[in-house]
């Protein structure tokens, strides 16, 4: 299959992309630590941890988390390099130290770092480190369950007793966080991984940055500028290649509304979903990207970067008229009236002082 740019499009190998060998690895070691919200506290709470026995009932749930982490963790992330530019990241070092020697001590060092960046907003959490290895392939999952309170209802033969329960740790749909790393070489691999953070688009910066930036000392694999430029390029080529006027209009309308995404994490796929683009428009955009990994790769949207690539919106009418304005202002500058919907006949009107007029040698 060839896409709009003449590239041979890949099958859906976005998951396979970063994982080199997306093979199943058995969960072998589980450690759990209670992590307090001790950010900015001079004296850190003592971290209590335990090795979780594989015979407990908990194992079934943790095995599911371990197995599904590759799918569930939807953000491709990479560890940051050191501020002096060297290939060094303290969290990566600790994770690798744990994999070299899995145990309570090496796990506690990671948990301590999580505690030191956990604010009272995030609260008490139960932190799990899940690790397995098979034929030299290693996999590690870090997972944080926020504390909650709840009510325990116990049904007797004729009655019901209810009891308030504190420190219940649940896989919250709104605050769950996890990260997964796979690789073979402890020296060369483990620079990238995948993460999930349900709060990454929180308006509160400290919360949105807590898991990936502050704890994992990482960032999205695609930089903000890189991801935004790709999105803009895909939209630009899609509007050029679309044969259906309605599809063009849909894409242009979505591009104009994109300012609302500023600072938010998104992907080209997310963009299509968020603006409810039709299957035709979505397919037209998807055809412009080289592979599914690019289509699904997350990045933080940057309005200025987007504007560098999509500045001008132009409309050409069958009578030869060409209307041009900045994409953001087009609808304000030109008033549009549909004269006949069946043959797409429209009337545009505008007014203003002439500040410049020119002839162009040819249409670009």
């Amino acid at each position: 299959m060839t896409n709009g740019n003449g590239h041979r499009r890949s099958r859906d190998y976005s998951r396979q992309f970063l994982w080199q060998v997306a093979m199943s690895i058995a969960l072998q070691r589980i450690y759990s630590f209670l992590v307090h919200p001790d950010k900015r506290k001079e004296e850190q709470s003592k971290i209590r941890g335990t090795k979780v026995d594989s015979s407990t009932r908990l194992i079934e749930m943790l095995q599911k988390i371990f197995d599904s982490a590759d799918e569930e963790c939807e953000y491709e992330i990479t560890f940051d390099s050191a501020s002096d530019g060297k290939q060094h990241n303290p969290r990566r070092d600790q994770i690798i130290a744990f994999m070299r020697q899995p145990g309570l001590n090496s796990g506690r060092r990671i948990a301590l770092e999580l505690q030191a960046v956990t604010t009272t907003n995030s609260g008490l959490g139960l932190f799990f480190i899940l690790y397995g290895e098979s034929n030299g392939n290693k996999k590690i999952v870090l997972s944080r369950f926020p504390a909650n309170s709840g009510i325990l209802a116990d049904e007797g033969e004729d009655d019901l007793t209810v009891e308030f329960v504190e420190k219940v740790f649940m896989k919250s749909a709104t605050a769950y966080k996890a990260a997964v790393y796979r690789g073979k070489s402890l020296d060369g691999d483990f620079w990238d991984g995948r993460a999930i953070d349900r709060q990454t688009n929180s308006e509160i910066l400290a919360i949105s940055n807590y898991w990936i930036k502050h704890f994992l000392l990482s960032d999205f694999r695609a930089t903000s500028a890189q991801g935004t430029k790709r999105l803009a390029a895909a939209l630009l080529v899609a509007t050029r290649n679309a044969t259906d006027a309605a599809v063009k209009q849909e894409i242009i309308a979505a591009a104009r509304l994109s300012g609302g995404l500023t600072g938010k994490s998104t992907s080209i796929k997310d963009f299509c979903r968020r603006f409810h683009l039709s299957p035709n428009a979505t397919e037209t955009i998807q055809k412009q990207v080289r592979n599914d990994a690019v289509y699904t790769e997350k990045f933080r949207f940057n309005r200025d970067e987007f504007a560098k690539h999509i500045v001008i919106q132009s409309v050409e009418l069958k009578n030869g008229a060409i209307l041009m304005a900045s994409a953001a202002d087009f609808d304000k500058v030109f008033e549009q009236k549909i004269l006949n919907e069946s043959n797409n006949d429209v009337q545009f009107s505008t007014h203003g002082q002439i500040v410049d007029q020119r002839l162009k040698r040819k249409r670009s």
Binding site: S10, Q16, S81, G85, Q87, S185, G188, W191, T223, Q226
Partner: protein
């Protein structure tokens, strides 16, 4: 032929060379219109050089136990700028559009010495480069990027061919000659950079 060599040779033809070509096109597209750039090239490390590097020892032990995962310059790219003042804006752009795990300004150890100068990055290969013909799981994760001026590049290339052998094998006079050419390149870069600044300012005034 060792396992490392045969595996690398197979990878070289089918993955590394075509990937380097794609990377070169990608970088050229990315920097399209930058008149400060003289040229952009990308290449796959030759099998002989890879095998030699893979066999390197540190304190009598193998430096790379997993050479395919540890050697990060299996694909290398180079951006050659006209003048020194162009290196910073290009580096800043690379920082913005590529995810890095390392960046270094390479200079001689002592301020009183002349030798190799350049800006080096170790960057993730962009996701855009892969498809069914070159799947990511058969490719390295990183590439090395060097940003150098024309003079830095010219000196490094000539030096590599002539003087790239254990320092003990060069006579004192030869070492001085190598340092002299490095100093000349350094000086030419400085003078051209100053001229570029002066003439650009003059052109703006007129």
């Amino acid at each position: 032929m060792s396992n490392v060599e045969s595996e690398y040779r197979a990878r070289y033809e089918t993955v590394l060379v075509p990937l380097a070509n794609r990377l070169e096109r990608h970088l050229r597209d990315h920097f399209d219109g930058w008149t400060s750039i003289d040229r952009i090239v990308a290449r796959a490390k030759s099998a002989d050089r890879f095998v030699a590097k893979a066999a390197a020892l540190t304190d009598g032990k193998m430096k790379y136990r997993e050479p395919f995962d540890q050697i990060q310059d299996q694909i290398g790219a180079r951006i050659i700028t006209r003048f020194l003042q162009h290196v910073d804006p290009i580096s800043a752009n690379i920082d913005e559009y590529f995810r890095k795990i390392e960046t270094q300004r390479i200079e001689p150890d002592s301020d009183a010495e002349f030798g190799y100068f350049g800006r080096h990055f170790v960057l993730f290969l962009p996701t855009d480069l892969f498809d069914d013909e070159i799947p990511a799981d058969r490719a390295p994760k990183f590439f090395e990027l060097q940003i150098k001026t024309l003079y830095q590049h010219a000196w490094a290339e000539a030096n590599h061919d002539l003087a790239y052998k254990p320092q003990g094998q060069l006579t004192a006079d030869q070492k001085r000659k190598v340092a002299f050419t490095a100093a000349q390149s350094w000086g030419a870069d400085r003078i051209f950079d100053e001229l570029c600044t002066e003439l650009t300012v003059d052109a703006k005034r007129t």
